[in-house]
Symmetry: C2
């Protein structure tokens, strides 16, 4: 009902986030945003000039509420292999939950828009850099503790960064399998902490 505005821009972004997360950017019609927010078209366009602006706001909200807390663990100044492993275990737990099939809003957006929508590319590039920096941080501390050398830090950072993107893609097809993958990665990271098991070759059979 008319009068003074009954919602904030942030309300719109949060409600829209759920729909974009579930159905993707192109897959979300403005009508669906109306249903999700309970607002009519004019009210929506009063808050944001374009569907894309709604999406950007939803993505920004997602990053602060979902990405920052998790990745922040690995970005912490005292983060090490423990935190890197815990990060992937946390993902594994999330992948065992009911909402895992939606994947990651940010990585879904990269998959959908990167390379095709030029205005989106910087965000994708920034995020990749951020993840790489986070793992370099954690693995660098491990190297300082003598667990690995510099060459290993950069190689393993590359591998963890690629793996992170990969599990978020895989979780949309098969979340239980992706949960297992995350736990495997966490275990592998943990194994890096050991100076290196010299009995590795014999414990197989």
């Amino acid at each position: 009902m008319p009068g003074r505005r009954s919602y904030t821009d942030a309300d719109v972004a949060v409600a829209a986030k759920q729909v974009f997360w579930e159905r993707g950017y192109e897959g979300t019609a403005v009508d669906a945003l109306q249903d999700a927010t309970g607002l009519s078209r004019s009210s929506l366009y009063l808050a944001y000039d374009t569907k894309r602006a709604v999406f950007d706001a939803a993505l920004a909200d997602y990053i602060t509420t979902f990405v920052d807390p998790r990745l922040g663990l690995v970005e912490a100044p005292d983060a090490g292999l423990r935190e890197a492993a815990a990060f992937f275990r946390g993902l594994a737990d999330y992948f065992s939950g009911p909402d895992a099939g939606r994947g990651c809003l940010l990585i879904n957006a990269i998959a959908e828009l990167a390379g095709r929508d030029p205005s989106f590319s910087p965000l994708a590039a920034d995020f990749t850099m951020r993840v790489r920096a986070a793992f370099t941080n954690a693995l660098g501390h491990a190297a300082a503790d003598g667990a690995m050398n510099r060459r290993q830090v950069s190689r393993r950072t590359e591998m963890l960064t690629a793996s992170l993107f990969g599990v978020w893609l895989a979780v949309r097809s098969d979340s239980p399998a992706a949960a297992i993958t995350c736990r495997s990665i966490a275990q592998e990271i943990t194994s890096w902490a050991r100076p290196v098991p010299s009995n590795a070759r014999r414990s197989g059979s």
Copy 2:
């Protein structure tokens, strides 16, 4: 011009493959398929009943011409760490080429359709299983040679599978970076072949 049919279904699939590869499934209009094939709408729909059928045929062609030769290297009965590393180096070379930005048609399709189009899910699940089996094959042989134990085989298989999906996603935003990632992964795999460097802890500084 009318008369007897001047093209085969396979011609259509191959031409369509290029467009789908470049622009994605939803992003490709039937008009674009007309341009690519040089056929008119009726001729297209004479070869395939639906846009989706064209896509499936294009994807099948992609798998036999692009995926099979590369992944076959790792699936070979005598494949080991050498072949797994060579697989990622081969990817790195491809990522340095001009067409890298399109990514992988199959993985793009998984990213676009998995979880949203139920009829596509089996193909996605099958491919993930296939990749996992391929790396299990190669790493299993390495384990038989004493380079690692069973636990490492399964963990590292998970990691390589996730990494493969990840690099194909990343290559669409930044192909030079993805090429470096592939080479790092190849080097890491190669390092598994060594019984395990006991001087790893000291060579850092």
